[in-house]
Symmetry: C2
Subunit: 341 residues, 2 copies
């Protein structure tokens, strides 16, 4: 067995409490004693055991990261990166991140993630959409909670959001600057707050440029954001009207779907149709043509969520706040200057 604090204490001829004081920089320790203890610590290659620390400190040293089963199964590259961001930042706070998924059908506290039942987390980060009941159940247990890319004002929860409106505004303005005026929008239901915001960004940019929005160009269905959403959406749009010269999409997956549908109709991207996405997932730069998109700093979302949750753990009395993470337009080759036919 490896050494304990008492081994160190014996060897350094002090009491365990003194060793503890050295380890945690607490109370009075004579400099001479301190170095003596530190030397023994080095000699024995001693590190306090996590499980022991956790028990006395009445904390678990873990953060929970919850993802909707739907995203989980798809291994959504977006949320994966968000998770990596939390993991990275958690190290700075001497915390670990426990990952789990929660089912769409969540309805009772009995289905709460294991780490909550076992009080094995000091706080929880939820990424993306989950059932509202889950959020309520967590809040009612007085576990610090932070939502990433989800939640609304009246939930009274700390949130870390994407600057959706600004992102789509940038994307739309980019198309306008390229001479496009017939600009469509393919998005999802307005249930998810991001959906609403992104649509607003589109409207705002169009308004700012005094371009009238043709309702036929707008396609919002209730399917979750995905390739299918883009594919069916654009297909639907084509049933109604002539294709616009450019389309703003809810996210990259949607854009891939739009491009697929366009290809089916022999509409060339970007020559006949400019397409812009949102997120900048890995595939976007691999695709042909590489996708013009709004880059979301996914790791930053995660990192900021950890910062927020640590703040909430330390100051539980503080009111919940909302942080927005900036975005950046990445111009690639799925958009080009409008050429009248």
């Amino acid at each position: 067995m490896s050494s304990t604090i008492r081994d160190v204490a014996n060897r350094a001829k002090v009491s365990p409490s003194t060793v503890s004081a050295v380890l945690n920089d607490k109370g009075y320790v004579h400099p001479k004693t301190r170095t003596r203890v530190l030397n023994v610590i080095r000699e024995l290659n001693y590190t306090p055991r996590r499980s022991a620390r956790n028990l006395t400190n009445q904390r678990s040293g873990n953060l929970g990261f919850i993802l909707n089963e739907r995203y989980f199964n798809r291994a959504e590259p977006f949320y994966t990166r968000v998770f990596l961001g939390t993991e990275f930042q958690a190290r700075n706070h001497d915390l670990y991140v426990l990952f789990t998924s929660v089912d769409e059908s969540y309805s009772s506290p009995k289905q709460l993630p294991r780490f909550l039942q076992e009080q094995n987390v000091d706080g929880v980060i939820i990424a993306g959409e989950v059932p509202d009941v889950l959020i309520e159940d967590i809040l009612s247990r007085d576990v610090p909670l932070v939502l990433i890319d989800f939640g609304n004002e009246d939930m009274n929860v700390t949130r870390v959001l994407i600057d959706n409106k600004q992102g789509v505004r940038l994307a739309t303005r980019h198309l306008i600057a390229q001479g496009h005026t017939a600009i469509g929008f393919v998005g999802g239901s307005s249930y998810h707050p991001s959906g609403k915001e992104r649509f607003r960004g589109y409207c705002q940019a169009m308004g700012e440029a005094n371009i009238e929005v043709n309702k036929d160009w707008i396609e919002c269905s209730d399917i979750p954001a995905s390739m299918e959403l883009g594919d069916f959406g654009f297909e639907n749009l084509l049933k109604r009207c002539q294709p616009p010269s450019a389309v703003v999409c809810f996210n990259d997956a949607t854009a891939f779907g739009v491009i697929r549908a366009a290809r089916r109709h022999s509409i060339k991207v970007p020559t006949q149709l400019s397409v812009v996405g949102f997120d900048d997932v890995e595939a976007s730069s691999i695709m042909h043509p590489p996708l013009t998109t709004v880059k979301v700093f996914k790791e930053d979302l995660g990192a900021e969520a950890v910062r927020s949750i640590v703040d909430r753990i330390q100051n539980p009395e503080k009111r919940p706040i909302t942080t927005r993470i900036g975005v950046e337009l990445i111009v690639r080759q799925s958009t080009e200057e409008f050429k009248p036919r």
Copy 2:
């Protein structure tokens, strides 16, 4: 504060040890007492605290999952899924998975992941290539270890591997069945064991069909498996000879690179060049044309690794074993019948 085992004990008029016996199905407990205790447990909504259990049980209840920083930064969709597989299986064993990355430049035990220093894991899973020293350092600490898709025979470590040879054999045979004979191979260095095995699978399939392998068709460079590998590799190949009619690639990323290079040279995929990948990452089905590839059951790799590590934890004396996870050929549209020009 939430209730403890003593609260339950008091309420049920038994001693804590009896409650513990009920919880763990150990020793003799009268059925009547058992139900009484169980009722109180339900009433108080009691769940034993993880940190307390961990301390007495002298275990952490955690598994460590280590990924090379290189893969980590790219959020490799492959290893992400492997991780998800471990997480999922870990639940069945009442374990949590702690994720971390380790730097390419690892050289000293001081750089060991935090969870090892703090003895916060009962076993470690390493996915993909890492510095050999890291493996040695972990083994020398007597921490159960399982490697996924890495390691060789003389390492004497439990491994979970992909059936690489069979996979590439299937892929190559598929091309041969389509009438191709000029079949190239674009792979990486033979340092990674998978690289070697996949190349062997190609050679074997060619041999079995009595097709002579033209060395010019084979391109192996030392770049890590990536789009660049495929791009440069195919570019190099074209400098040497006429393009083959089909190419087997080390993995999907490599295949994407080959397709990019082919496009640059106006070689149409699949009309003029059939391309087959390996892994079946998400992007492969999104691409145009959708990639024919060898599907690796990534979650199974992770799940099997957890099963192996649990086995190693419980039977440390057992000799390390190697498991192979099967593969499946997924035919999409990046390959088609050979048409002589």
